[in-house]
């Protein structure tokens, strides 16, 4: 009985504190739906979003970014690199005194998100889809959040870029390998790479799983890609083309036999921002060359 009373009183105490907290939280969500103001100090926590803000002409307002925000390179001098989304903590974000935080719903750490929300800083979390339509929607939402209505030109540029993608008669099967140190992952369905490969007229060699999975020799042989696709930094880290050809299982595939290895800038490929059209055209050119 004693124990029961104790447990009950604990719950009541905790719950009452909780009540007070949620009250505070509701206020912050109301703040989010306020009219956007310009001349913000913006923290962008996603490469694509960073590019959109910069392309809309608000690069000067960005005071902090995450590690994936590599473009435009001029940001390095003006915005603080806050590190990787997964290991980021709240204080460095607060330290750049942002008035607006923009993030994507992908790979965000829920505990950090909770802290950001309770900090009272206006925060927008966008749903990110790795499609052309998704990118256009993202551009529109980001533009509205930073108080800029002149975003149509970005969407027009994407369309204009995509028109330059030339169809490839025999669609090459492309395997994207994400190499970080000794970790090799391949991208399955519903990844930005798979989406970009399709846009560029190829097809993703992996069809039987989603997201990223560790590379296994058998899976590589089974997928039998015509082309291996890397981030430039990843390919360098893996020891260039030589290293890539030595990866387990690669020698047994068409890509390995014909030495078809391509690489592009990581931010360009995975950003799905205003340069998504450019990225598709770039990849399309590389694929056409590699199928000759």
């Amino acid at each position: 009985m004693k124990k029961f009373i104790l447990a009950a009183s604990v719950l009541v105490a905790v719950y009452s504190c909780k009540k007070a907290e949620t009250g505070a939280k509701e206020n912050t969500t109301e703040a989010i739906s306020e009219a956007p103001k310009t001349n913000n100090k913006i923290v962008t926590l996603n490469g694509g979003i960073t590019e959109i803000v910069a392309a809309l002409g608000h690069e000067k307002e960005i005071v902090g970014t995450d590690v994936t925000s590599t473009y435009p390179a001029s940001l390095k001098a003006t915005a603080k690199d806050l590190g990787h989304m997964r290991s980021m903590t709240i204080e460095p974000i607060m330290a750049v005194n942002p008035t607006l935080i923009l993030a994507s719903d992908k790979d965000i750490n829920p505990e950090l998100m909770g802290k950001i929300k309770s900090s009272g800083i206006q925060t927008e979390v966008f749903k990110q889809e790795y499609t052309v339509e998704g990118t256009k929607k993202l551009i529109e939402q980001v533009a509205k959040a930073i108080g800029n209505t002149d975003y149509q030109k970005l969407n027009d540029k994407i369309d204009a870029d995509l028109k330059q993608v030339q169809p490839i008669a025999k669609k090459p099967k492309v395997l994207f390998i994400y190499a970080r140190g000794n970790m090799l992952m391949v991208s399955g369905k519903n990844t930005p790479m798979a989406s970009l490969i399709t846009l560029a007229g190829g097809e993703n060699a992996v069809t039987d799983f989603e997201d990223f999975k560790p590379l296994t020799p058998e899976a590589v042989v089974k997928a039998n890609p015509d082309v291996l696709f890397f981030f430039e930094t990843g390919l360098q880290g893996a020891g260039g083309n030589e290293g890539a050809l030595k990866m387990p299982g690669v020698s047994q595939t068409n890509a390995g036999k014909n030495k078809k290895i391509i690489a592009m800038d990581g931010g360009l490929v995975s950003g799905f921002g205003p340069r998504v059209g450019e990225a598709a055209v770039g990849l399309n050119k590389l694929l056409i060359e590699s199928t000759k």
Binding site: L6, V10, L11, A13, V14, Y15, C17, K18, E21, T22, K80, L82, G83, H84, R86, S87, M88, T89, I90, E91, P92, M94, A95, N97, D107, I108, N109, P110, E111, L112, G114, K115, S118, S119, G120, I121, D211
Partner: protein
């Protein structure tokens, strides 16, 4: 000085030290209070000055103060749990992380997070935390029972068996937790770094209230047990003759330690070695007099973890070192020192 006043003196000294470190820690961090110097911002906050900006207030109170209090509570509990276990097993190597309690707690906490993820949204935050906390408690409790059953017979603990059981539980826990993290896609499970090296970055006042309640309950039961643990050193039979209810004492220690370790793991992952370092240092000063080292380990554990956490978030600013790296760095050599010292008796 007589013993009680001597203890009182040491407690006051360590409390003063803890307050000094806490104030320094409150003023450590990458956030810049602008022309408002840090101490002035702090003073304004204490006075409840309305001139303090919301961000300043948030950083002082919800970010730094919350984290400092969490470090104090968790450091204290880990340290006391180590001291109590060492009294129970009559061995300086018995700590929650070495005998597998933390792994057991991690495993069940992870399972609770993955399974609880399906209906988590409908529960208030406090209940979510409690769910994981309760699961972690069950995990550490089961590990504790297993270790005790396997390694203790007739009131004697076989240390090698105790440590090896811990190794086995840790291995099982690590593999299953790793697997859960691999299959859970949507970040519902914090990554392996958190579960293996710990972090205090996600401190909130809600968590601190739960931790404080657990600490108060556990300390009411454990802290007066110094004399009883001293008697236990003579052997269980002799303790029994001195009027100590040995079985009851064991049960109390097992349950409260499992509760403390479980709750700490649920909120901060695995922060190892705290329960080894603090009692070891205190033993050097006070021999194995539990009347002294039990209450002092509560204080010194806080000092140790708060210092370690302040370093962890300032060494590589703006990012931070997982705190478990620092505690292991301190704890590893001490572990070896204990092994060398007790080589003959192990």
């Amino acid at each position: 000085m007589k013993a009680p006043s001597k203890l009182y003196f040491y407690l006051v000294i360590s409390a003063v030290l803890l307050v000094i470190i806490a104030v320094l820690s409150l003023n450590t961090g990458v956030y810049d209070f602008g022309e408002n110097s840090r101490f002035r911002a702090l003073w304004q906050f204490i006075k409840g000055d309305s001139g303090l900006s919301l961000s300043d207030k948030y950083v002082i109170w919800d970010v730094r103060a919350a984290r400092i209090i969490m470090a104090i509570l968790i450091g204290s509990m880990l340290s006391v749990s180590g001291t109590s276990l060492q009294g129970l097993f009559k061995n300086p190597l018995a700590t929650g992380d070495l005998i597998g309690l933390t792994s057991g707690a991690t495993l069940l906490a992870a399972i609770a997070i993955v399974l609880g993820g399906h209906f988590k949204e409908y529960l208030p935050e406090a209940v979510q935390f409690s769910l994981v906390g309760i699961a972690a408690f069950i995990g550490s409790f089961l590990s504790m029972m297993l270790v005790y059953r396997i390694s203790t017979s007739g009131g004697k603990t076989n240390v090698v068996m105790m440590l090896l059981t811990g190794v086995a539980i840790t291995a099982i826990g690590f593999s299953i937790t790793g697997f859960l993290i691999y299959i859970s896609k949507d970040e519902q499970l914090r990554d392996l770094t958190f579960w293996n090296l710990g972090s205090l970055a996600a401190a909130t006042w809600t968590k601190n209230i739960i931790l404080a309640i657990v600490a108060i309950i556990a300390y009411i039961i454990l802290l007066p047990k110094g004399k009883a643990l001293n008697a236990m050193m003579l052997g269980e039979k002799d303790a029994q003759h001195l009027g100590i209810n040995v079985e009851r004492l064991k049960k109390q220690i097992i349950i409260t330690v499992a509760l403390m370790v479980g709750t700490c793991v649920a909120f901060s992952g695995t922060i190892g070695f705290v329960g080894l370092i603090v009692p070891y240092i205190l033993r050097l000063l006070f021999k194995s007099n539990y009347v002294f080292i039990l209450p002092l380990s509560a204080m010194c554990g806080s000092i140790l973890l708060l210092t370690a956490d302040t370093f962890s978030r300032s060494i590589v600013a703006p990012s931070e070192l997982p705190i478990g790296i620092l505690t292991a760095l301190m704890g590893g050599p001490i572990f070896i020192a204990i092994l060398v010292k007790f080589k003959k008796s192990l």
